[in-house]
């Protein structure tokens, strides 16, 4: 099929941008490990409270200023506030005891979906002191706008 010269130039330019774009995303994902949260672990959504580690949610120290935060999202709360020292690396491990919830910490890149039957994980290092808010950003029912948690970094 014949194409106008300018159209060819335009599409070649578009094609190159596309390749550059995909390379940036690809390198960042596979070489630098910036994958989106994609945990493959499953859990019985009706037995969350009896299944380890969610039978004992909360903060656990697992290394030098490194913590695991085990949390259960359910209508309409995330559990007790957490307290960590400045510079702490926290591995969040979250599941849902009822419907789909969101898990985001405004001001950070922490943002993931919590689907019942699945566990999702994300890691963040809190380099600055202050109070952080965890919010549910997926509609989950009448109390959705109140569903939040706190992290105290000091």
């Amino acid at each position: 099929m014949h194409m106008h010269k300018y159209e060819k130039i335009w599409l070649i330019f578009g094609g190159i941008t596309l390749i550059v774009f995909l390379s940036v995303i690809g390198v960042s994902a596979f070489a630098m490990g910036h994958h989106p949260p994609s945990d493959m672990t499953t859990i019985d959504p009706e037995k969350v409270k009896e299944t380890a580690p969610f039978d004992d949610p909360g903060l656990k120290k697992i290394g030098d200023n490194e913590y695991e935060a085990v949390m259960v999202a359910q209508a309409f709360m995330f559990g007790e506030p957490l307290e960590v020292p400045k510079g702490a690396t926290v591995h969040f491990k979250v599941t849902s005891a009822d419907v789909v919830h969101g898990f985001s910490i405004p001001g950070t890149n922490v943002n993931m979906m919590i689907t019942p039957g699945h566990i999702n994980t994300i890691t963040h290092t809190f380099d600055e002191a202050g109070e952080f808010l965890i919010i549910c950003n997926e509609y989950c029912g009448v109390g959705h706008q109140a569903m939040s948690g706190r992290i105290e970094v000091n």
Partner: protein
């Protein structure tokens, strides 16, 4: 040709669809306005109406009802215009589809009004609505299939009567749009009929949540292209005629529609980037396929501007941008869709951000996303549809678009663009600050960041008020053109292909080939992940009614 009206019976069928569409705009607009007021804390809803009930109505009425009805009405009219009066069979199918869809719409609306379905228009399990909500939605989809079948039949009749000839561009594009819709809705029909209905009736206890979400998003992204393609039909086929130019290239137009079919379906995971249970390899593969739509999008942009430039030069424009002055800025049939096109440039750029693995993390489920689709569907698509209505409704009712109404329509466009710039601009900004979408008024216990979002939410309400005024003006125009405008003949603008354009290769109309490639791509992108989702499925979820 231009001075003839399409068959009156066909006109009636189109009008019936278009009216339902605009009633949905009015009702949905009222909901939208109230939402902006609630979110900014200006009002609380009376009479026990819930924010999420309202939001469900807004999403269903505008994203599903308005779009689907308008599109089917528009496509039927254009098919009648370009392939000739509908045969008895296709017209009957059109009406059958209309009644099935309308039955479904009424059932769904009642369920939302009785607060038995405040699950939003995406109805994510395991929130569980009344089974009738899902049945209503299923009827809407089935009705649209019946209408699609009518269009396919009319097209086939034409091909049989004109062997070896290239079909009219409009009818080709209409068939492509309905084909995309048919293939895409198979996913949502599967989750609704096989999962949600049995589960909400209690015939089965639990549901596979991830499978349901995956089937939904298999449909959810091409849904966007189902809205866009009819707008592209206007841009490719209608606008050249209105500006007194020619279609730049028939073959490029068809090729871009083929590519939209191929690359809009196997990409749903880009809506599920942040969820567990889907491996990042498959997410990345689908993100790659997502970016392929950049190619037909650039082709479309090129063709449109080439058409503008060629017609401008024919009218004696000189210099690099002289043609801009030759465009009919005062013609609402051009101005409204053109503003839609213009807004599509930043909107498309935002879309690229949304679909990128890592950037998605920043904006997922924030108001940024809501801001994004109020630019794409609620501005680019909506303004184009409004622009179509300005000549299509009088054409169908045997009336004319007067100078005065034309002026009012231009004012409507300006109100819409200004209101949307404010509302969507505020949504984008506050979304970057982390404000969640689909969330009623909240300060999270006077948390400082959340308090900082309020001014933007007030800006949203100001923009929303402009938009609502825009909707009132629009409805006035629609009513006027339907019942009060002077009788006459309003042209149905169908562009002709430029003389120097190449002959269109027959391969572009080889439906078996394109459907084959489309199915192959879908199987490639979805077979393994869906098998994994089923094989590694956790125990299912019971239903919850948390509203």
């Amino acid at each position: 040709m231009e001075t003839t009206l399409i068959n009156r019976k066909d006109a009636k069928l189109s009008l019936a669809h278009i009216y339902v569409g605009f009633i949905a705009v009015l009702l949905g607009g009222i909901a939208g306005l109230l939402q902006t007021f609630v979110r900014s804390g200006a009002i609380t809803l009376p009479a026990g109406i819930g924010y999420y009930q309202l939001l469900t109505a807004h999403g269903v009425l505008l994203a599903l009802v308005f779009t689907t009805y308008f599109i089917i009405g528009f496509l039927y009219s254009g098919i009648s215009k370009t392939t000739g009066t509908l045969a008895e069979g296709p017209r009957k199918l059109g009406w059958a589809g209309y009644y099935v869809m309308t039955t479904g719409t009424v059932i769904t609306t009642i369920m939302i009004l009785t607060n038995d379905a405040s699950v939003l228009y995406t109805f994510y399990a395991p929130l569980q609505a009344s089974p009738w909500f899902y049945i209503g939605l299923a009827l809407v989809v089935i009705g649209s299939w019946i209408s699609g079948a009518g269009m396919f039949r009319q097209y086939r009749n034409w091909k049989k009567a004109n062997p070896g000839q290239l079909s009219p561009l409009f009818s080709f594009m209409a068939v492509m749009t309905m084909l995309l819709w048919l293939i895409a809705t198979l996913g949502v029909a599967a989750t609704v009929v096989l999962q949600l209905i049995p589960w909400s009736f209690g015939w089965v206890d639990t549901i596979n949540v991830l499978l349901s979400r995956t089937l939904f998003w298999y449909f959810g992204h091409p849904l966007v292209y189902f809205w866009l393609l009819p707008a592209y039909i206007c841009w490719y086929v209608i606008i050249p005629k209105i500006i007194g130019g020619k279609i730049f290239s028939d073959s490029l137009a068809r090729l871009s529609f083929v590519l939209f079919l191929l690359f809009s379906i196997p990409v749903g995971f880009h809506h599920q980037l942040l969820e567990s249970g889907v491996s990042h390899t498959w997410k990345f593969i689908q993100v790659t396929l997502t970016f392929m739509v950049i190619v037909p999008s650039l082709m479309t942009a090129f063709s449109l501007f080439a058409t503008f430039e060629l017609s401008g030069r024919q009218k004696g424009a000189r210099g690099l941008f002289g043609w801009v002055k030759k465009l009919p800025w005062k013609d609402a049939r051009f101005f409204a869709p053109f503003m839609g096109m213009l807004i599509f440039i930043p909107a498309g750029a935002g879309g690229i951000i949304n679909a990128s693995n890592q950037l998605n993390q920043v904006i997922h489920n924030t108001l940024w996303v809501t801001g994004h689709f109020h630019l794409t569907v609620a501005t680019s698509v909506a303004l184009t549809f409004f622009g179509i209505a300005y000549w299509l409704i009088p054409h169908l009712t045997g009336r004319t678009l007067t100078k005065k109404i034309n002026l009012l329509a231009n004012i409507q466009t300006i109100i819409w663009v200004v209101g949307m710039a404010m509302m969507s601009g505020a949504m984008h900004t506050v979304g970057l600050l982390g404000a969640p979408r689909r969330t009623a008024y909240t300060t999270y216990g006077d948390y400082p960041d959340a308090l900082g979002w309020i001014p933007y939410e007030v800006a949203m309400a100001v923009g929303g008020s402009f938009l609502f005024i825009g909707i009132l003006v629009l409805i006035y125009i629609v009513v006027h053109l339907s019942f009060f405008a002077p009788k006459g003949v309003e042209a149905y603008p169908i562009g002709e292909v430029a003389d120097q354009a190449e002959r269109t290769p027959a391969i572009l109309e080889n439906w078996k080939l394109w459907i084959g490639v489309c199915v192959a791509l879908i199987l490639f992108a979805y077979t393994i992940p869906i098998m994994e989702i089923i094989e590694n499925a956790p125990p299912g979820s019971p239903g919850f009614r948390l509203w």
